[in-house]
């Protein structure tokens, strides 16, 4: 896929389902927070149209690495990234890269739902509007409705799109954030513990949603729930002390992991 600057429109290129191409190639990535090295020589190929889960104990570098993929680390003082991260073959750390455009291509959902203090409609409409994706009001409405539908939220909020996003329940707010991320046609969706603030039923709805949309996106989820990683992902990466210990087929990672550290972690024998 072409990674030219007109990025937001690119995901409208029809994608062939069930064909897994590599979307992200990271090689020899090192991340430092001041003197402290958070990621050590990490190399990984992440496929498109699949869910990759990052697991590992706190401080292992999984969230740090996740944030390098949409350059969220740029905003942290003293954070330095070396190595290459290629999205569709284009290095996202190149000087000529437009970070705003990058973040439209690489959406992010956070641990705590963070809707804007605006109406449900405006929450979703905000991104397409500032990125100039909608050509008319009708176009914008269509994008909002479709995004809410994709995020399995539309039926619950269709009669109150003018209500505040913050008036929704936690689970609904998180789905609103996913709708907001989807609205700008991202290619990659990063999820940093998206269910950790939700009750089991709301978590299950998010998992169901991830399952429904995974054929259209490259999804990376950081989670502390091993069962969740096992349920939602096709590939799992285990991080430990800044190293990528093992990355492979989820079914194998949770049944017959190759590395003893992975085995110890997933069976609850760590530390």
């Amino acid at each position: 896929m072409d990674a030219s600057p007109q990025m937001p429109t690119l995901s409208k290129v029809p994608r062939i389902l069930n064909e897994r191409e590599t979307k992200i190639v990271a090689s020899d990535v090192n991340v430092y927070y001041g003197e402290k090295q958070a990621i050590k020589n990490l190399s990984i190929d992440i496929p498109d149209r699949a869910v990759s889960a990052f697991i590992g104990p706190s401080g292992c570098g999984k969230s740090t690495f996740l944030r390098t993929i949409n350059r969220m680390n740029d905003t942290i003082d003293g954070c330095r990234v070396t190595g290459d991260i290629l999205v569709d073959g284009k290095n996202i750390y190149d000087r000529d890269l437009d970070v705003v455009q990058l973040r439209a291509r690489v959406g992010m959902v956070f641990q705590k739902p963070n809707p804007f203090p605006k109406s449900i409609f405006e929450n979703v409409a905000y991104g397409p509007r500032i990125h100039g994706i909608a050509k008319s009001k009708a176009d914008l409405e269509e994008i909002v409705v479709n995004s809410l539908k994709k995020a399995s939220l539309f039926e619950e909020v269709k009669d109150r799109l003018d209500h505040s996003g913050t008036s929704l329940s936690g689970g609904q707010q998180q789905r609103l954030c996913i709708a907001r991320a989807i609205a700008v046609n991202p290619e990659i969706i990063l999820m940093d513990e998206p269910c950790s603030a939700l009750d089991p039923i709301a978590s299950a709805r998010i998992e169901e949603l991830i399952d429904e949309i995974r054929q259209n996106y490259c999804i990376i989820i950081v989670t502390h729930s091993m069962q969740q990683a096992a349920r939602v992902s096709q590939l799992t990466a285990f991080f430990h002390l800044g190293d990528l210990v093992e990355f492979g087929d989820t079914d194998e990672m949770f049944t017959t992991p190759k590395d003893k550290r992975t085995q110890d972690y997933i069976t609850g024998r760590f530390g």
């Binding site: 091993m226 949770f254 997933i266 609850g268 760590f270």
Partner: protein, 236 residues
């Protein structure tokens, strides 16, 4: 393997293993007594074996309940999950071994009066082999020893081979003297029981291999039991 962060999880797995060891010990004892009872035609001992099967059945149920509870509570992964699944499977095999020992003991009543002692020696030999297989496989399980499990798995062909020769021997006795048909049929079932016990130990061996390596044994097991295709006329 190192301990779980949650200590009571280790206790759950250890108690499963301990219950299984207890069940294995009981199965061994039942088998030894059953062989002894039929060899000596000791109906009193046979009755003890018949009554003793209940304990094995009860343990199987306890293992099943403990396994389900542990899965529900701990959501085990990888080797821990295999440990539990394998415990359920092995307990089912041990329960069947208990049943087969009981069935063999029962036959003591049917043959006690009429049978010449020499006829029973084949069954005793089969029984001793099955006992040894069972002992070895329980040992392999206690030590998570997949290599030992494989060697038990392979040696099942010795039992099969012996079963073939006893089968032929008993058929010959029956042909020589029709009055022997009754007791020899019981002995034939008894030896078949021992052969089945051998098969259950191979199941256990396969489970130990799976427990340790996370995959099934690929090789085909050598099978030497050809009695199902042995033609009566050929022996004649």
């Amino acid at each position: 393997m190192s301990d779980h962060t949650v200590k009571s999880y280790d206790d759950d797995l250890a108690s499963l293993k301990q219950m299984l060891a207890q069940m294995g010990g009981l199965a061994e004892e039942q088998l030894a007594n059953a062989i002894d009872a039929i060899a000596k035609r000791d109906t009193r001992l046979a009755d003890i074996v018949i009554a003793g099967d209940e304990k094995i059945d009860a343990l199987e149920q306890q293992i099943e309940e403990k396994s389900i509870l542990t899965i529900a509570k701990r959501q085990p992964m990888a080797q821990d999950l295999r440990q539990i699944i394998v415990a359920i499977r092995i307990s089912a095999d041990l329960e069947r071994i208990g049943d087969l020992a009981k069935n063999t003991a029962k036959r003591t009543h049917a043959i006690s009066e009429q049978m010449p002692r020499k006829l029973v020696s084949g069954l005793t030999r089969m029984g001793n082999l099955a006992q040894e297989q069972l002992k070895n496989i329980l040992d392999a399980y206690a030590r998570n020893d997949a290599d030992k499990a494989i060697s038990v798995w392979r040696s099942d062909e010795d039992i099969d081979a012996l079963y073939n020769s006893i089968f032929r021997e008993l058929l010959t006795y029956m042909m020589e003297d029709p009055r022997m048909i009754g007791p020899c049929t019981h002995l034939l079932f008894g030896t078949k029981n021992m052969e089945r016990i051998g098969d259950h130990t191979t199941n256990i061996a396969e489970n130990i291999y799976f427990l340790v390596h996370g995959k099934a044994i690929i090789e085909e097991r050598p099978k030497k039991d050809s009695t199902s295709t042995t033609n009566y006329n050929l022996i004649k």
